[in-house]
Subunit: 106 residues, 2 copies
């Protein structure tokens, strides 16, 4: 258990962590830079980053004495794909997309 998808969903369950992902969508950031956007301590932010990393939603690259955090699109995709199970329940959106594409094809 505690498979990758579960760790991903767990990581997304906290609003701070979701906001961090949105920050990282704009640019890669060090821990300190991420922490500037919140009122909590750097240690708390680091914990959030660790959980995001466990869920494979971000990647970390050590550069000298800093650590650059960046989005991991593949991990995000793995969670996102879970919703595909329910495609039948929001046909309206899929159909809208489909007719858009069909228009392109013709």
């Amino acid at each position: 258990m505690t498979d990758a998808q579960q760790l991903g969903f767990r990581a997304l369950s906290d609003p701070t962590r979701r906001r961090i992902l949105q920050l990282l969508a704009r640019e890669d950031l060090t821990i300190a830079e991420v922490a500037e956007n919140f009122q909590m301590t750097r240690a708390a932010v680091k914990k959030h980053l660790a959980i995001l990393n466990e869920g494979h939603l971000i990647k970390v690259e050590t550069v000298g004495r800093t650590r650059r955090n960046s989005l991991d699109p593949d991990g995000l995709r793995r969670v996102y794909d879970w919703f595909g199970f329910f495609d039948q329940f929001w046909d309206d959106r899929l159909n809208a997309l489909k007719s858009e594409i069909e228009k392109d094809v013709q």
Copy 2:
């Protein structure tokens, strides 16, 4: 805080609750019927259903002495849509979907 989206993400963070949603995707179920699929007590399952309801991921209809639980596609979509923020990061999937549909069309 504790907005609708947060309650949705919170509801999805537990694997039991995600499995319940998949069961309800096939058919509406009473609490007892949902509980048959798990080893935990009915009381525990009922708690999970309450959290799913708070996140607006399911709807509940009282029928006599039973309660029929059904999927709430709108609430599910509200969580799903959060991922739209990251569209730029998985263009490959959109393209894969597009070619799948194009194959259907031809």
